[in-house]
């Protein structure tokens, strides 16, 4: 996983609530056995017409948002299925940060595991950033995870909250399996206790 420290880039406005994971990556694209290559199918049903041509009305088909690294949306982003293909598709497209008033729990979790930073900010702030984003290439926004601020194109800094452990893992690009493996003695002793109390859980 790539570390996330500071990102300055173009933000794409997606003024929609309840953007579900079927919208982010429809189920027919989940048949891959790899983590990469899903960027072309990101938002497929919105991004392409039935004949496969691009829908010019969709934001990611417009300049400069084809190079967007940040996505700004409304409430409950990432609701629906647990598919990690959703953050994989965002990442493969080039998006490293999603800003929204709130996120569905599983998507929120999955994002951190893939070096994508989900930033929760109040709706009115998201609306402000959405207006900034509509200004296009001259309106790059910065997300500074070290200092926990989003910097608007006019220089205004907006602080955001983030879980300290998740921040640490993201800043250092750490995978948490290796970290948990160090707790093996504690897991061993939990299993020994549980096996004694509830032997039927073990076969």
């Amino acid at each position: 996983m790539d570390a996330f420290t500071t990102l300055t880039g173009i933000a794409a406005p997606l003024p929609m609530a309840n953007v579900d994971t079927d919208k982010i990556i429809p189920a027919r694209f989940l048949k891959t056995i790899a983590r990469t290559g899903l960027g072309k199918s990101l938002f497929a049903n919105l991004r392409y017409n039935e004949d496969g041509s691009e829908n010019p009305d969709f934001v990611l088909n417009q300049q400069p948002y084809r190079r967007a690294e940040v996505l700004i949306a409304h409430e409950n982003f990432g609701c629906g299925s647990s598919r990690e293909h959703a953050p994989w598709a965002l990442l493969d497209f080039g998006i490293r940060c999603v800003i929204a008033p709130d996120f569905a729990d599983i998507f929120h979790n999955n994002s951190f595991k893939n070096g994508i930073l989900p930033v929760r900010l109040p709706r009115e702030v998201c609306d402000q950033l959405m207006e900034d984003a509509k200004l296009g290439a001259n309106a790059r926004i910065t997300i500074d995870l070290e200092r926990q601020v989003v910097v608007r194109p006019n220089g205004e800094e907006i602080p955001f909250e983030i879980d300290p452990l998740r921040r640490h893992l993201l800043l250092n690009g750490l995978d948490d399996i290796g970290q948990t493996m160090q707790q093996a003695p504690a897991i061993d002793s939990f299993e020994a206790r549980q096996r004694a109390a509830q032997p039927w859980l073990y076969r």
Partner: protein
């Protein structure tokens, strides 16, 4: 936490599986059961392979294929779609390489992972259960803590049998009273989601309680917990009681004999204590519930079948109005149109929400002696090979076939548009599944969520129908 403080069902199971609390308060939670399917596991096994890590608890893991497979006889002669085939073959290769227990496609026990977990006794009260699938919340009906995880977490559980978790908030949804005739568990849960919204349970675990929930059989409880995630909650649960214990008794992976009795003793201590505090409480009167149907493209956009399509211009701020306009357009609706005037093209009875034997019986009761309307394709897809066998012993397959329904093999089928069963653009479907998102059942498909009886009623009339008018 003092020993005397009243605790919720969720707190008790969480505490009983706490391996360690990290300095920042994150919990390392032990996972008793890990269910694995072909879609969300290939990259996890690949991760293990790269890091040369084994699966830690083979006896705590079970794999099955369900999402990609066809639900007709063609599945036994090989999967046509090359990508689906690769995904299924990859799982078969992985379970062999890592020695993971596996229920193959040809086994009568094969079926939808959330149907077979409880059916096999793999999912039991008091357990922590995970699967790389958001509808893992289903298993919470056993009185377990069950939730969906992403592929990175699938790998984490395979390698360590644990997960890093923050404690969720507690939410209780109490449904008291007697459910009117024609209403089912599905109508209860659709009404709940309509009330709390699709983000209502974000950050929470929902405990469903009250006399109307207690009165449900296990199939009904699975339907309710299944759709917790549509209300935003990763997990939904119902306190285990005699209904749960009787369901679990004698199942292949359940403890047997004296061990079962000892397990029941522990299970009886799990229900939330008197005075346990919930961060959020919601109440519904069962008597006020009417048969529900979704009209839009989010599961919160549900209405009683007696209602009409809403006017987008009447709702909320501009963003909400834009969303409503989009829904009305996508769904091919006219504001003010009665829901019962909507003609259906397809009826799908199945999915991890509604494919158990009780669901089959409810649909068959409507289908018996009637016939699928002209121009409607209606399919019934049992949740497991064992559900199918049971239904056939009861003659339900004959009732469905005589009425013009397709009687199919077990799988996820038309719930999610990643196997041959899908809608074509513009088709309108009365579906017993759980999600009505745009394109969920196939690009351009239009989904109306409802109960099995309501779906069967739509099949025989050709329109969304108030089932109370034909029973």
């Amino acid at each position: 936490m003092s020993a005397t403080k009243p605790r919720t069902l969720y707190d008790k199971i969480f505490d009983a599986h706490l391996v360690e609390t990290l300095p920042d308060g994150t919990a390392l939670l032990y996972i008793d059961r890990h269910l694995v399917h072909e879609v969300t596991s290939p990259q996890a096994f690949e991760g293990l392979r790269m890091a040369k890590r084994p699966v830690r608890r083979l006896d705590g893991t079970m794999a099955v294929v369900d999402h990609n497979i066809a639900t007709d006889a063609s599945r036994y002669t090989g999967i046509e779609d090359p990508e689906s085939r690769t995904q299924v073959e990859t799982l078969e290769k992985n379970v062999k390489e890592f020695n993971v227990p596996y229920i193959p496609l040809t086994d009568a026990r094969q079926g939808i992972v959330h149907v077979i977990g409880p059916e096999q006794g793999l999912s039991l009260p008091g357990m922590t259960i995970v699967c790389g699938d958001s509808h893992t919340s289903t298993h919470g009906a056993m009185g377990a803590l069950a939730f969906g995880i992403g592929t990175s977490e699938v790998e984490h559980v395979l390698a360590t049998q644990t997960l890093l978790q923050k404690r969720a908030k507690n939410m209780r949804v109490t449904v008291d009273g007697v459910l009117p005739v024609g209403c089912t568990a599905k109508d209860i849960v659709l009404a709940i989601i309509g009330k709390i919204g699709t983000a209502g349970g974000n950050g929470h675990v929902i405990e469903f309680a009250g006399s109307a929930i207690r009165a449900l059989d296990m199939a009904g409880r699975f339907s309710v917990c299944n759709m917790s995630i549509e209300g935003g909650a990763r997990a939904g649960m119902i306190a285990p009681d005699e209904t749960t214990f009787e369901y679990a008794r004698g199942r292949p992976f359940a403890p047997q004999g004296e061990a079962f009795d000892r397990a029941v003793e522990w299970w009886k201590t799990l229900p939330s204590d008197e005075g346990a505090v919930f961060d959020k409480e919601v109440f519904l009167d069962a008597a006020e519930i009417v048969p529900m149907v979704s009209w839009g493209t989010s599961p919160e956009d549900v209405l009683p079948i007696t209602a009409a399509v809403p006017d987008p211009e009447s709702g909320g701020d501009e963003a909400r109005r834009a969303q409503l306009r989009r829904m009305v357009e996508y769904m091919g609706l006219t504001p003010g149109q009665k829901l019962t005037d909507l003609k259906v093209d397809v009826v799908f009875i199945g999915s991890c929400t509604n494919s158990r034997i009780e669901d089959m019986r409810a649909a068959a009761q409507i289908a018996r002696g009637r016939h699928v309307a002209e121009g409607v394709r209606a399919m019934v897809v049992p949740g497991s090979g064992l559900v199918k066998q049971q239904a056939e012993r009861e003659g339900l397959d004959a009732i469905f076939r005589d009425a013009g329904f397709e009687w199919r093999e077990a799988g996820c089928s038309m719930c999610l548009g990643m196997n041959p069963d899908k809608l074509t653009p513009g088709q309108r479907c009365a579906s017993t599944s759980n999600r009505n998102f745009e394109g969920r059942q196939g690009p351009g498909g239009r989904t109306h969520l409802c109960s099995p009886a309501m779906a069967a009623a739509a099949a025989v009339t050709g329109f969304l129908t108030d089932v109370r008018e034909i029973v």
